[in-house]
């Protein structure tokens, strides 16, 4: 048996204290102190033994508190997270953002029928609408329905349709190419916007019904939700 130095005495006392009553494993570590060949080894063993003591305490407290097995706890966590997500999604869908199905081909090639897009219903109020934004607009006539178009003209822009493209302030808008064009030239009034579908040949937009009030914007498209890749 190794001599009982002060270091060992103190370490033993410390470990015994940390183990507490009713300990098995920390007590086992305490009992091994004498096997350490040097005071330095005894010290290292004590430090590691303290970890055992704390580990054992946590176990005992958990058992006493009736904490269920880790599997049950994890299942509970998953259910809680799932419920929170569902509630958040419902909240979000109502006010902040929503997913919209694309109903027509008027936005080809950008959007196809049955694509699903994420629509920001709130943020665009703060950032304002910009030329090139894709927006969802609620059309009051003939009955209330939503359309998805691109904003190509803002208040003050002079919009006209020429043979080769739709012109804004005398410059052609790229991509609005030739094809069933024909509209009355108009300057976009304050608070309004000029909408154009990406497939100008089939789209019904501001060329037919004129500039539309910006207040009819339901939201701005943020991205495509489905399909995920294209």
């Amino acid at each position: 048996m190794t001599a009982d130095s002060r270091v060992r005495r103190l370490s033993r006392a410390l470990l015994t204290r940390a183990a507490g009553a009713g300990s098995t494993w920390a007590a086992a570590a305490t009992g091994e102190l004498d096997a350490a060949p040097s005071d330095w080894a005894a010290l290292r063993w004590t430090l590691s033994g303290l970890r055992v003591a704390f580990w054992e305490r946590r176990r005992r407290e958990a058992a006493r508190a009736g904490v269920p097995r880790p599997g049950v706890q994890r299942a509970r966590k998953v259910v809680l997270i799932g419920v929170t997500l569902i509630v958040a999604l419902i909240t979000v869908n109502w006010r902040v953002a929503t997913v919209v199905d694309i109903p027509s081909t008027s936005m080809l090639p950008t959007l196809r029928v049955d694509d699903r897009v994420l629509v920001d219903k709130v943020g665009f109020h703060m950032t304002g609408l910009h030329r090139g934004d894709l927006v969802v607009v609620a059309m009051p006539v003939p009955q209330r329905y939503w359309i998805v178009k691109r904003v190509v003209g803002l208040p003050g822009d002079r919009m006209e349709c020429r043979a080769d493209a739709v012109y804004r302030n005398g410059a052609p808008i790229p991509g609005t190419g030739p094809g069933a064009l024909g509209c009355d030239p108009v300057t976009v009034p304050a608070g309004s916007m000029y909408l154009l579908g990406d497939d100008a040949t089939v789209s019904m937009d501001s060329r037919q019904f004129g500039p539309v009030a910006q207040s009819t914007v339901v939201g701005r498209l943020v991205g495509r939700v489905w399909p995920v890749t294209r």
């Binding site: 007590a27 009992g31 350490a36 063993w45």
Partner: protein, 112 residues
């Protein structure tokens, strides 16, 4: 947590140390030195093995009065069997990895 219970590298080291004398009693400090695991890692493993019925324990009172008793551990029959099979699986896995990585040839090279 590894998918097979009782197959973490540290547990395997404990198994190997215990199997060196499968029917004998082992001290905690000795196991710690053999496995290279500190008490904080070793005792939770031992506790799990005891709970699974793979290890049995006993206390040995100290020769010197006033000193705490020592805890000893021995593999049960189930424990020894499981320990051997886990170690065999680990060895087989290591060999398979070496073969896959090209470190081991399955066929000996013919003398040139």
């Amino acid at each position: 947590m590894p998918r097979t219970p009782d197959s973490s590298p540290q547990t395997l080291q404990v198994f190997a140390a215990l199997l060196e004398e499968a029917a004998g009693w082992h001290y905690g400090y000795g196991l710690s030195k053999q496995t290279g695991l500190a008490a904080g890692s070793l005792y939770p493993i031992l506790a799990r093995l005891v709970e699974r019925g793979l290890l049995e324990t006993r206390w040995e009172p100290s020769d010197i009065a006033g000193r705490p008793p020592r805890h000893l551990y021995r593999l049960t029959a189930d424990g020894a069997g499981l320990a051997r099979s886990r170690l065999a699986e680990a060895r087989a896995r290591a060999v398979a990895q070496d073969v896959a990585a090209g470190r081991l040839r399955t066929h000996p090279r013919t003398a040139s």
